[in-house]
Structures are given as C-alpha cells and as structure tokens.
Symmetry: C2
Subunit: 273 residues, 2 copies
C-alpha cells in the first residue's frame, strides 16, 4: 500500500490526557499534522476490562482510518496496555503505543535495576511494563503501583495541593521502600503533577515521561518507513480535534495545555464506528 507521507498522524486517548502526548509531538515533530480523538463520552478507560478497551479502540481506529491518517499513536496507557497487540493485527499503517518507548528509556536509565511504574488500575493490573522491561533486561526488577486518585485530583486542578501531596506520599511510599532509581509515569495525566512526584521521590530518582519518549520514537518510526512529512504543504488547521462528548470543555482544556489556541473541535458519535 502507498501511504501519503504528508497525511496526518492519528493520536487517540480516552479523554484529555493524551494531549500531553500530542503536545510533545507538536514540539518535537513540528512538520507533522495531527488528528486527535478523545473518547470523552466513555472516559476513563483505566477501570474497564481488556475486552471493552479493545472494542473501544477498534471503533476509534476505524474513525481515524476514515480521516486517512498515515500512522497511529495510542496515547492512552490503558489502551496501549490492553489493545495495542489486538489492533495492530488489523492495520497496514504503523502504530505506536506509549508503553514501549517509556519502558525502553527506563531500562536504559536504571543503574540499580529497580524500576517503579505508576498508572491506572487497568495499566498496572496488565503487567505490561514488566513484560517490556524484562524484554530489554531480564535482570530488572519492576515495582508497580496503581494510583487511582491521581487523575481525579489533576482534573480537580489540585496540582500543588497538600491533599495531593499526602495522597502521592502514600501511594509512592512502597516504591521508595523498594529503593527504585527510575520511575515511569505510566498515565498521561501524571506529568502534570511531576513536581509533586519529584519532591517526594527526590532528585536521585529518574522520572520517565512516556509522552516525550513516544514523540521521539514516532519520529524514528516515520523516518524508518520513509513517512516523515516533507512539510511542503501549508494548511490552515494542521491540528484537528475530535471528541465523543463535551467539545467545548475539551477545547478549553486543550487550549490551556497546548502552546496555541485550539480552533476546531468537533463531536462525533463513536459508537457508530
């Protein structure tokens, strides 16, 4: 199949969290166009089953294919953990999740071979980070901890709040006790409370942000497949956003974390796909 190298990259997430990944792609691959889908009608994915997350992801893939994307980034950790293998089989374009790029860097960074992972119940329960880390280095010991209150705390806007510090201290205590020297922020919301996590874990612990690593990995993948945008064409809207609910709220949140004002956000009925 001939893939148009100047087609957009499709990026999807259960909601707004994946915008932290889109932001890194915009920063690091400025010639790339993006079609973003946030499944705000069914958010969150972190407390749902593998089977359901696969079904939702397949619907989104069908929508993104209709948008003629040249590659797909699964910007949601839970969907990357549960659905990536299943949906990759259906596809003839490159697809990339956020688990592998984070795990690869963590495996390269750790010195004492003790790596921590924090994420949703779904992501942590899947054991997927352990799988990848062991693939890179079988000697690595992995300590994973689900932090289900982090997303609601971030969405409440309590980023530097004593309550968030107390909750984080409690969640992170067992990872500190295990003496990890590297910690994967395995949920797209977590980079937004990075400084709180840094204060608790200390300067000695390397925090891995998979959003950033995924953007770099995407660049390598597109280059390898000869799919990097040649950036010749000019478009009014290089970034297009679609959601399954609450388009206005999404637009407001997106504009607050992206480096420009989001113009176009459109609501679609994802259950039809």
């Amino acid at each position: 199949m001939d893939i148009d190298r100047n087609a957009p990259v499709g990026v999807f997430d259960s909601g707004v969290g994946g915008l932290t990944v889109a932001r890194e792609i915009m920063r690091n691959l400025p010639a790339e166009k993006i079609v973003y889908f946030g499944d705000t009608a069914r958010v969150p994915y972190g407390n749902k089953s593998r089977e359901t997350v696969i079904r939702y992801s397949r619907q989104i893939i069908r929508f993104l294919r209709e948008q003629k994307v040249k590659a797909i980034v699964v910007a949601c950790n839970t969907a990357s953990a549960f659905a990536l293998d299943a949906i990759r089989d259906d596809l003839d374009i490159p697809i990339l999740g956020v688990i592998e790029p984070g795990a690869k860097v963590a495996a390269a960074q750790t010195r004492n071979k003790r790596v921590g992972v924090i994420g949703t119940l779904g992501t942590v329960g899947s054991g997927i980070h352990r799988e990848y880390l062991k693939k890179y280095d079988p000697d690595i010991q992995v300590f994973a901890k689900a932090c289900p209150l982090f997303v609601p705390l971030v969405e409440e806007g309590w980023l530097h709040d004593p309550v968030t510090v107390e909750v984080a201290s409690r969640y992170l205590k067992e990872l500190q006790d295990k003496n990890v020297d590297t910690l994967i922020l395995g949920c797209t919301h977590y980079p937004l409370i990075r400084s709180t996590i840094r204060n608790i874990m200390g300067e000695g612990v390397c925090l891995v942000n998979p959003a950033y690593e995924t953007a770099l990995e995407l660049g390598r993948l597109l280059e390898e497949k000869n799919l990097l945008s040649t950036g010749t064409q000019q478009e009014e809207f290089p970034y297009r956003f679609y959601v399954s609910d609450l388009a206005d709220e999404f637009k407001a949140f997106a504009s607050s974390i992206l480096p420009y004002d989001v113009e176009m956000t459109q609501k679609i009925d994802i259950e039809k796909y």
Copy 2:
C-alpha cells in the same frame, strides 16, 4: 396497557452506586423482584453531557423493557437530573428518579429554609435540585456544591481516612458557612461516607439519603397504580443483575453491600440497544 403487577422493577445506574438504591428497595419492599443494570463500560455519568446521558439512558430503557419490567427506577442522580423528563415521554410504565423524592423530604425537613446539595459536576450543574425544592417551597434557598473526588475516594475504599476527612471538610466548608440545616446526599456513593459527612456537618444538620426516600416513594407509586407485587410466586432469583463490563468485579462489590450473596450477574452489550 395491562401491566403485570408481579413483573420485576427495573433499576439502573451508571455503575455500582445504584446498588444503594436497590438495597433500600429490597429492605422496604421485600415482595418486589428487581432487574438491575449497571453501565460499568461507560461509568461515570457525572462528567458527561446531558445529550450523552440521555442517549445512554434510552439504550438502557430499551434493554429493561425487553426484560418486561413493570416500572423503572433511575437510581443514578446524573441520569435523573439529565434524562428523566426525556425518557418519561417514551414510556407507558411508571418511572421514578432519585432527585424528586430527596428534594421532597428535604423541603419538609428544613426549618431555616436553607438546604445544601452535594453531587457530581453534572448533577450540581443541572440545577435540578433547586428546581424541585423551589416547587415544594419557593422560599427555600439552595446551596449546591460539586464534590468530584468523593466517588474515587469511596471506590478506593478510603471511607474513614484522614484524606477523605480533609477533602470533605474543604468541600463542605462553604455549605457550613451558608448555615444550611438540611443536606441532600445527591450521589449514590455518598451514603457510604455518611458518617464522615455527619461528623463535619454536625448533629444539627439533617442528612437526606435519596436512596431510602426513593424506595418509599416507589412503594407509594406502585400502590397508587395497583402494581404492588402480590408476592404469591416463588422464584429462585428474585434479583437479577446486568452490567456492560466487569461482571465479576461487580458481583464482588454487590455482594459486599447487599444483605445476601449475588448469584447471577450477566454482561450485555448495551451499545446494541
């Protein structure tokens, strides 16, 4: 239309929370059979739009009609707030939400005519409690406060935790400052942290649990329509549970809050309805 008075009552919620309503129906109307649906594949509803909640509720109503229920209880505050009027129009059987029964009792209880309401962002944003309270007594002043962290805290199991006390103190402070003498627990999860809320608000404030009031109201409604079960038939499974995801997890949670072990929980594809 002839309705079978010994048919089950349909009860639905976005997830497990509505079980607090089902529990009150079991306690107060022991002759009634129940078909419960929890939309665990799309939970929560509290952060979704009116339009989406109406669409989800309509699908569930179609499923419950297929189960030949004689009446429907919308056990979800957000669905009651957003969808009750829309779905009532389609129905030829009685339907009841959890907002009106709670508001009715609060209006009767308050002495200083200052009533507080706590709930999800969706429920509080809808202003529906104010509407009903004003209908019962136009002199009542209503003070509403969204408490989005309560549901994740309850689901984390931190029912009597210092973090929950701190979060609750902060959320409830402005209602205390307003000197409310009655407080509606406008979300099905909140009765599970009733004692924390009671400690903060003090003995002088009357806490209204809409789950209980809804069960009583259902009894009155069925009696009025001549639909109270005659309780002559014996069935092996008077209570049947359906969910859209994670049937085993639901069963475990349900068994922990209901007065008996839940035998049958079945997963269905609600998007097909």
